[in-house]
Symmetry: D2
Subunit: 108 residues, 4 copies
C-alpha cells in the first residue's frame, strides 16, 4: 500500500462519478475543515471516543487532503517531511524538550 495507490483509487472513484467539477482547491479546503470538525465531534464532551467513529471521520479528513494534494500536484508524504525539516530547525531538541511553553506556540 502506498499513498500514490490510494490517490489512484480516489481519482478513479471521483472520475466515475464526474465529481471533479466540484473539486476546486477552495472547495476541497472547505471540505477538509468540515470533516475535521466532525472528527473533533467524536471528542466534543470528553476525551472518550468510539474508535470506529474516529476511524471513519479521520478517513474523511485524509480523503479530502489527498484530493487537494492531487489537484495541486503535491506529494502528501514529501510535504510532511519538508515541513518537518522546517519545524526541526525552529525547535531544536535541546531547547524544546518537554517544554509546554514552547509547545504552546507549535506548530506555526
Amino acid at each position: 500500500m502506498s499513498a500514490s495507490r490510494v490517490q489512484d483509487t480516489l481519482r478513479d472513484f471521483v472520475a466515475e462519478r464526474e465529481w471533479d467539477q466540484f473539486h476546486s482547491p477552495e472547495n476541497l479546503a472547505k471540505s477538509v475543515v468540515i470533516e475535521s470538525a466532525e472528527l473533533l465531534e467524536c471528542f466534543q464532551w470528553n476525551g472518550d471516543h468510539e474508535i470506529d467513529r474516529v476511524r471513519d471521520e479521520l478517513a474523511d479528513v485524509l480523503t479530502y487532503c489527498h484530493l487537494l494534494a492531487a489537484k495541486l500536484d503535491l506529494d502528501v508524504d514529501q510535504i510532511v517531511l519538508d515541513k518537518l525539516g522546517k519545524t526541526r530547525a525552529k525547535y531544536p531538541v535541546e531547547t524544546a524538550r518537554g517544554s509546554s511553553e514552547k509547545y504552546d506556540r507549535l506548530p506555526d
Copy 2:
C-alpha cells in the same frame, strides 16, 4: 517513500522533544481542526492561493492526522480505502454521476 516511513520519522521527532505527553487523541483532534482552518485561511477571501503557503498548511493537517492515526494504531492508507468502500456502496456510479444534488450530501 511510504506512509509508514513518514510515521517513523514523525515518531522520532516527537520522542526527541518529549512532546508525546501533550498528544492525547483529543488534543490531536483539536490540532487537526486548528490546522485545517489555517489551510482554509489561504482561501479566505477568494479562490486564489499561494502554493507555498497551501503546501505548508496542508502538511500541518497531515502531520496531526498521522500523529492521531499512530496514537490509535490506525493505518492511514487502509482507513481511507475502507471508508471509500462504504461511500462506493452508498453512491453507486449510475445514480451519483454528475449530480450535485446527491453531492450536497456527500460524504457523511
Copy 3:
C-alpha cells in the same frame, strides 16, 4: 448596549474601509470557522486559558457572525431564541436531564 447598536458600529467600520466587497455570505462563513479555530487554539493542549486571548478570539467569532447576520437580514438574538424553541421541543426536560447519552447528540 444592544446587538443592533453593535451591528451599526460594525457596518460603519466596514463601510469606511470599503471592505463590503469581500463579504459574501460564503466568505463570512469561512471567516467564522477560521476565527473559531483560533478560539479553540486557546485550549489546544489543555483546558487552561489566558482570558485576554479568549476574549479577543471570541470577539472575532462574534464579529463575523454579526457581519453574516447583517448581510442576510437576520436578527442575531431572534434566531438564537427561535432555534432554542426547536431544541426545547426535541429535548424535553424530563428525558434530557443530566443525560450525557442524549447530550452526545446535541445540538443537531
Copy 4:
C-alpha cells in the same frame, strides 16, 4: 430583545436539563468550532445557500458563543466593540480602504 435576555433564557434552558456539567470553557470552544463548520457546510460546494439552514446553523454558533461568554463573565456586545477598537487602530481608514492586500491579513 437584548443579549442579556438571550443569555438568561439560555441559562434557564441549560439549568433545567442539568447540562452545565458538560460546559467547560474548553468543551464550549470545541462546540463553537464544530457548529461553525456546520455553518460552512451550507456553502461547501458553492456560494448558494438555503437561508433556513444557514439561520439554524448560525444560531447554533451564536448559542455556544453566548454559553462560553456567560461561563467566563464576558459581555458579548462589549468584547466585540473593544476588539473593534483595536482593529480600528491597526487598520486606519486612509491606508486600509478597499485594499485586499491589507485585507488578507485581517483580522489577526
